[in-house]
Each structure stands twice: as C-alpha cells, then as structure tokens.
C-alpha cells in the first residue's frame, strides 16, 4: 500500500532523509518513530505530495506521488500535527469544504458527513464555529474530515500530541476500529511510545535521516533486550538530546499562543 525505495531528500546543505526504504502492507498500522529532527515529517510530506524527493521512488496505493499527484491524493487522508481547519467556519462547513475539494457528489457527501461526525461524536456540535473547539475536538474533526473521501490510507502526524488521556484513548479506538472494520492502512508518527507499542503492527525507527531499525514492537524489544518500546527506542537512537535551532514553526507557534484568546 505504501512503498518507499531509496528515498533521499536534500535541502541546501542538509540531507534530511537519507536512502530510506520501507514497505507498509494493506491494512497495517505502521508506526514511524524517531527523535526530533530525524526526518519523520519530511518523509510524510514526500508521501503526501507536499515535497518531492531528491531521489528514490515512492508509491501510494500504486500511484507515484510525484507523477500521479491526484491519484495519490485521492488514496489518502491526513491529519496534520498543527490544526488545518478553517477556524471561522463551522465544523459542518469544514467537512463540506473537504467534500467539495475532493469532488464528492452532494447527496453522498451529506450522508457521509453525518456518518463520520457521529462516529467521532461531534454531530451535536456540527453548527459550532471551529475556533471554539478544544484541541481534542479539532483533532477528532480532522480525523473525520480526512476520512470523508473513503481513503485507503490515513496519515497521522503526532495524532495525540497534547491531548488528555481520555481523548487519546478515544482517538486510538476510532483508528483501531477503522483498521479492523474497513481494512484501512494507518501510517502514524508519535513520541508516545506506549501508544505505539499497543497499537502498531510494524514500526520503523528513523534517526538522522536514516532508518535505524524495522520490525514489530515485539521484535524491536527483543533485538535490544528491552521490556518497553521506549527503552528499545532509546537504546537504538541514543540518549542525547537533539540540538535543534528554533525553526520558523516554533516562532509561529509562539506567536499563535500570544494571539489566542
């Protein structure tokens, strides 16, 4: 369902992703883990047509995200790390807009929106403006939205970051249910190792742009003689804190916090 073969991405003077290869089978829940700055987000951006690789081949449901952008785009839904909703619209309107972008016929769209919003338990808030939603509600709405066009793959970039345990639990149960009932392939990144341990069928760990290890959570724990995935992770990637320059993202996030009511 998702294939990466010798994918490399170089920015001016920096190799963010270095000869990365992995394969995600249909219906798998795949965890893509790595320390800050490892290349996770860059890889996801390449898989989701937002960036083009410097070299290497990618395949999303059989389509090349570089050459067949739209074919790839119809195959996946994505929930970004930072909310990508329109705050000035209602929850329903956000869902509707997505349906329009993906050219879903009106009648089918109405039914689909109602089904999905009830699934994530936001139907009773459908006419409320998104700017009044909590982080958890926004995330649930984005999951519902990402599924509107029946994608075969769902990408989730840190889906439970900053959420309380109840919401986190809810979100993973939606995802596991989707995976079980509809065979949806799930590709996620996270720093919450215990969640990855419980949920993922397979894991790849990336560090400094290279894949360090691949396998099921059990295999990784065995390989490193660890009892928890977090220990396995630390043992594979080292205990040093990653030095990072404050990126433009951090500045924008800080400004956003200042401007939030």
């Amino acid at each position: 369902m998702i294939k990466a073969l010798n994918v490399t991405k170089k920015f001016k003077g920096l190799t963010a992703v270095d000869d990365v290869s992995f394969e995600v089978g249909k219906g798998e829940i795949f965890g893509f883990l790595g320390p800050n700055g490892a290349g996770k987000t860059t890889t996801i951006k390449m898989l989701t047509t937002l960036l083009e690789p410097t070299s290497g081949k990618l395949s999303i449901n059989g389509a090349d995200p570089v050459k067949d952008k739209d074919a790839a785009r119809y195959s996946f839904g994505i929930v970004f790390q930072d909310p990508s909703l329109d705050d000035e619209l209602t929850a329903y309107e956000n869902m509707e807009f997505h349906g329009i972008l993906y050219k879903i016929p009106r009648k089918e769209l109405k039914k689909r929106i109602e089904y999905l919003m009830k699934y994530v338990e936001l139907w009773d808030r459908k006419d409320d403006l998104v700017k009044h939603f909590s982080g958890g509600m926004k995330r649930r709405l984005e999951i519902a939205r990402g599924l509107t066009h029946h994608p075969k793959i769902l990408f989730l970039d840190e889906p439970t970051l900053g959420l309380d345990p109840q919401t986190r639990n809810h979100i993973w149960s939606y995802i596991k249910q989707l995976n079980k009932e509809e065979g949806m392939t799930v590709f996620f990144t996270t720093h919450y190792m215990e969640e990855a341990d419980k949920v993922a069928d397979k894991i790849a760990i990336i560090d400094h742009g290279k894949i360090v290890s691949k396998g099921t959570p059990a295999e990784l724990k065995e390989k490193t003689n660890s009892s928890s995935l977090e220990d396995a992770f630390l043992s594979l990637t080292g205990k040093d804190i990653r030095e990072q320059e404050a990126s433009n993202m951090d500045h924008l996030r800080a400004m956003r916090r200042m401007h939030k009511k």
């Binding site: 785009r73 997505h98 972008l101 433009n248």
Partner: protein, 227 residues
C-alpha cells in the same frame, strides 16, 4: 472588518476637513470630493494586501495545507483565494464609499457607478494577487512590517490618492506613472467625478494588464510553495 475601517475614515475626516480650506483656496476645489476616491482605494489596497498575506499564517496553522494536499490544481486554489480576498476588499471599498457620502462626498455621475465598481474590483483583484505573490515567498511574519512600510505605504502615498498629479516634481511624476494604484485612483475619479488625469481607457488597460500579470506571477509562486 469594522476595525480596519478606522484608518481610512480617520484620513478622510482629518485630512478632508483639515486640508479642505487650503486646497480650495489653491484652486483645487472641494477636497472631500477629491479625496474620497483616494480613500476608497486606500481601504481596498490595505484589505487586499492583508487578504493575500494571510496565507503565511494559513501555511502552518490553517487551511492552506488542507488545500495543498487535495486533488485540486494550485491554479484553481490561487484563483479562488484571489477572488475571495478581492470580494472582501471590495466590500470594504463600498462601505467606505457609503461613509464618504455621509461626510459630504457627492459623486457626479450615478450612471457610471457600475463602472466605478468594476474599477474597484480590478484594484482589489490586482492587490490580492500581489499580496499572495509576496506571501508565497515569505515563511513567517518577520518581513511583514518591511513590506507594509516600504512597499504598501509608498504605493498608497504616491498614487494621487491624497494629492493631484498635475504639476508634481519630475521624480514623483515618474513614480506615480509606474504605480498601478495611481490608475485605480484615477479610474475612480474619472467614473465618479468626471475628473481624470490619465484617461479612463488608460486606467482600465493598465489595471487589467497588471492584474493579469500579477495573477500569473502569483499563481506561479503559489504553485511553488513548499510547506
């Protein structure tokens, strides 16, 4: 919307009534009549640029990512955003127009009002496309202040919005001739007051061509955005 009306109204009232007597004495006629089209353009200019620049914010925190990942050509998104931004900017212009009526502005030619509206649309479209083009190259809000102070303010002040373009010093004359907003202001004056400087056809031509050019450039830069 209401907050951003403050500045144009302030300019209109303070400059209009403040400079009025001297302007009249110098033979320029009623300053409020002269000024109102300029202030309408001011409102449209600033709103358009802000609407275009919004995408910097949108880039990380909003909606833009959703549109970039969707199976929609970037050109369509560009057109959509430009039309949307232009619509908001024109509404601002219309509101300022109505307020200027309260302050004493009297358009001479009601038949030409639809044409005036078209000019306003062109100005709005042009500058929203410009705002989007600029914002496509910016990654955060840091350059924003510079853009406002070194590009937008000069465009406004050197457009004939505030002073007549006849008999200005050569340097100013050259700059105002190169400034698309000058043709917009002139167009509004021509349609609302029958008082032109460049001629209405020149105004339409310049506005139309520059708007299309900026739309093309803006679309190209927008399509190259990588988030």
């Amino acid at each position: 919307m209401i907050g951003s009306l403050g500045q144009p109204i302030l300019f209109l009232v303070a400059l209009g009534f403040g400079f009025g007597p001297i302007f009249e004495k110098a033979g320029g006629g009623n300053y409020i009549q002269f000024l109102a089209p300029g202030i309408i353009c001011m409102g449209i200019l600033f709103t358009s640029i802000f609407m275009g620049i919004e995408i910097i914010w949108d880039r990380q925190f909003g909606f833009l990512k959703e549109t970039l990942v969707a199976p929609v050509p970037r050109f369509h998104i560009m057109i959509g955003r430009t039309l949307g931004g232009a619509t908001v900017a024109v509404m601002q212009g219309v509101i300022i127009f109505l307020i200027s009526l309260l302050v004493g502005f009297r358009p001479e030619n009601l038949i030409m009002l639809p044409l005036a509206f078209v000019i306003m649309l062109l100005i709005a479209f042009l500058f929203t496309a410009l705002g989007t083009a600029i914002a496509s190259r910016m990654e955060d809000m840091h350059g924003f202040q510079m853009i406002i102070n070194f590009l937008i303010m000069p465009i406004f002040f050197l457009s004939g919005a505030l002073f007549p373009l006849d008999n200005v010093p050569r340097a100013i004359d050259i700059i105002t001739k190169m400034n698309p907003l000058s043709y917009g202001v002139d167009g509004l004056r021509a349609t609302l007051l029958n008082a032109g400087h460049f001629g209405l056809s020149a105004d339409f031509a310049v506005l139309g061509i520059v708007a299309l050019l900026l739309l093309a450039i803006g679309s190209y830069l927008f399509s190259k955005i990588q988030i």
